[in-house]
């Protein structure tokens, strides 16, 4: 099985007529069984289509055209309009919102998260590439064009959660090359506040029979790793920590908006210590991840 999405998941793309969104729509339609992209929204573009996907002015029109609730939305609109777009999708009954847009102010993200939680909806991102269930479906730009995604992602027992979109693919590709496929890979985004953290996704993976181990990509900045350590995952977890050099450079932001050492607790050193204390294995290099996963699940090397 998988978490968050499966072959039956329906979704729309908000901002579908943008250059990157057009590509993303093509990729999702082409990948695996072909995603059920049931509509797109760009205000003022009602009646157009993008790769056969009908374009609407409002989310309500898309829901009405579909004739029933739509599961998800991929939001690609510019940062100044993202909050409104997400409020619109949540208010129209969408329960899974993947926000691709980057550079959204933290307050807007917190407002979206608060509204989502009041409606029982979940946000992935912002500043993320989305979700992929290997060979089945992808929701977002994760892995790129279908043939590229197929090179990196294969089905299997490992759940992947990553603060970096590109590293989601790098780690999954390394796992695939070692014969370890993925149940679901989630790019959760690199901002200071995000819709779903490691600890918040962990119960979903723990409830999934296919998933036997979790691989996470982490960075300095924030308390997400401390939250995971405190959660105490029931599945074995292998973590890779990038940006160790940043410990020497407090107050400087690298890589992602949330990647900044603001206090002692959010240094790489401190996070590694916390994760290890919680029984989480730390991979020194990406290529060490497969062996650590095998050891964790008791599989032969």
């Amino acid at each position: 099985m998988s978490i968050l999405i499966d072959a039956d998941t329906t979704f729309i793309v908000q901002g579908i007529t943008g250059r990157e969104a057009v590509n993303l729509t093509r990729e999702c339609l082409d990948y695996g069984a072909g995603a059920k992209v049931v509509g797109g929204v760009t205000p003022g573009r009602l009646g157009r289509d993008v790769h056969g996907v009908p374009v609407f002015d409002t989310v309500a029109q898309a829901v009405s055209h579909h004739g029933g609730p739509i599961d998800g939305s991929v939001v690609t609109v510019p940062p100044a309009f993202t909050k409104d777009a997400v409020f619109e999708s949540i208010t129209n009954g969408i329960r899974l919102v993947v926000i691709v847009t980057e550079r959204i102010p933290r307050r807007d993200v917190a407002q979206m998260v608060e509204l989502a939680s009041a409606h029982g909806a979940r946000i992935i991102g912002p500043n993320c590439l989305g979700i992929i269930v290997p060979d089945v479906i992808k929701m977002g730009g994760i892995g790129g064009p279908a043939r590229d995604a197929a090179k990196a992602y294969t089905p299997g027992p490992v759940g992947v959660i990553s603060r970096s979109g590109g590293m989601t693919t790098e780690m999954s590709s390394t796992l695939s090359a070692a014969g370890l496929g993925q149940s679901t890979a989630v790019s959760i985004g690199g901002d200071a506040i995000i819709g779903s953290t490691y600890a918040e996704l962990m119960p979903l993976f723990e409830a999934d029979e296919q998933t036997k181990a979790i691989v996470i990509y982490t960075e300095p900045g924030g308390r997400m790793e401390a939250q995971l350590a405190a959660y105490g995952p029931a599945l074995p977890v292998v973590a890779f920590m990038a940006g160790r050099f940043m410990d020497e450079m407090p107050g400087m932001s690298f890589g992602h908006a949330g990647t900044i050492v603001e206090g002692k607790e959010d240094t790489a050193t401190e996070k590694i210590a916390r994760l290890q204390a919680a029984g989480i294995a730390i991979a020194e290099r990406i290529e060490d991840i497969p062996d650590l996963v095998r050891q964790a699940i008791g599989a032969p090397a």
Partner: protein, 391 residues
């Protein structure tokens, strides 16, 4: 982005919170005039974006305007932690009856702002025992009663409670309105004359919110090119920003200067962090950090590579990314080869390694082969690529 103390005072004041009489001065004479206007003894405080002012001698106590002028001259000439002061804050020395702490910041785990209050002020909040905390909804404006409940929770009542409530509520509202990541008044003081004023304030605003906070930034005179990071950008880093701004497609920038000899043209966000660590772990000395991503044009990639190649002391560049799905391998290959050729270098000599697998890799590898550039596909790990680059 960080604000200077004198700017933080203005921000607090603009939102209706009383502050102690003070002035900002960039010359000793201005400091004297400010002291005259305040009347009585003053404190001269260096305006730098770094901590440790007191220890470094950046805070001086003056009894007369003449003292203020003399001490301001000292403080204005004093470098603190590599920073020259922007000016000095000339502050009144009010007789304080009781100090409090009031702050608002983000709780990233709860994903909500949290108000923090204590009846012990003037010291680091981490060291204070009697602290109240209260989270705030982001879907409505902070209300006075929320501040009142917080202040009452640490045992403050009577006149102090009723006078402090609007101040703390206004602080919470300015935090929300101005996209702050930290809004702190410490100490918030009750003076002997019974008034309540902010004696010091510290404000940090989110970089991502700068466009929509333009009115505030303009009012404070903060210019667009002031990054207000932990250190100001170097000329090399500003040149990197200029390259990135040449067109809106993709990223080829986020340059940070280091003093090594290996030029890095690396990406994307997470890949750059991983690769930078790996180069250093293998004994390499990076000349810079940077990021490519989101499919930048040939011209932009070429601009970034040229900038790095021209940095004094750079012998070779390493072009490396985690597997790309949006950025095209062939476009990056064209960009870096073009940079070498335009500067009169042989790409095969100047590029230590090219390791970018992913979208359009077949086309990219063909181009690299034509120019004899050593390249690697995804079977070579980021760590191994970094090892070869550092060798």
């Amino acid at each position: 982005m960080r604000f200077y103390e004198y700017e933080s005072r203005q921000i607090v004041q603009r939102s209706g919170i009383p502050v102690s009489p003070h002035g900002f001065a960039t010359t000793p004479l201005e400091a004297r005039r400010a002291a005259e206007e305040i009347g009585g003894p003053t404190v001269i405080k260096s305006q730098v974006l770094t901590g440790g002012r007191m220890k470094a001698g950046g805070v001086q106590f003056a009894d007369t305007p003449a003292d203020a002028e003399r001490l301001a001259a000292q403080v204005l000439a004093l470098e603190i932690g590599g920073h020259m002061p922007r000016g000095v804050l000339v502050d009144s020395r009010a007789a304080v009856k009781q100090e409090y702490y009031a702050g608002v910041t983000w709780d990233g785990t709860r994903k909500q702002p949290v108000m923090i209050f204590s009846d012990e002020g003037g010291i680091d909040i981490e060291d204070v025992a009697n602290v109240g905390r209260r989270h705030l909804s982001t879907l409505r404006d902070p209300s006075d009663f929320e501040a009142k409940e917080l202040i009452a929770s640490v045992g403050v009542t009577g006149r102090a409670l009723t006078r402090l409530t609007p101040i703390v509520a206004r602080l919470a509202r300015l935090f929300a309105e101005h996209d702050m990541t930290l809004a702190e008044i410490n100490p918030l003081a009750e003076l002997e004359d019974g008034s309540f004023v902010a004696l010091d304030a510290h404000m940090d605003m989110e970089n991502e919110a700068r466009p929509r906070q333009k009115a505030l930034l303009d009012a404070l005179g903060v210019r667009d090119e002031e990054t207000r990071q932990a250190r100001e950008a170097t000329a090399f880093e500003l040149a990197g920003e200029a390259v990135d701004a040449t067109d809106h497609r993709g990223v080829a920038g986020n340059v940070t200067e280091f003093d090594g000899d290996l030029g890095l043209v690396i990406g994307a966000g997470g890949g750059s962090l991983t690769l930078f660590d790996a180069v250093r772990a293998h004994g390499g000395k990076p000349a810079n950090y940077c990021e490519i991503g989101g499919n930048p044009s040939v011209a932009k990639t070429c601009g970034l590579a040229k900038l790095v190649l021209q940095k004094p002391g750079v012998e070779k560049i390493a072009v490396m990314m985690s597997i790309v799905s949006n950025t095209r391998v062939d476009i990056v290959a064209r960009g870096v080869i073009k940079a070498c050729l335009e500067l009169g270098h042989d790409p095969a000599e100047k590029i230590a390694i090219f390791r970018i697998p992913g979208a359009w890799e077949e086309e990219g590898f063909k181009i690299l082969e034509r120019y004899g550039v050593p390249y690697a596909d995804r079977s070579v790990s980021l760590d191994e690529a970094a090892r070869r680059a550092a060798a």
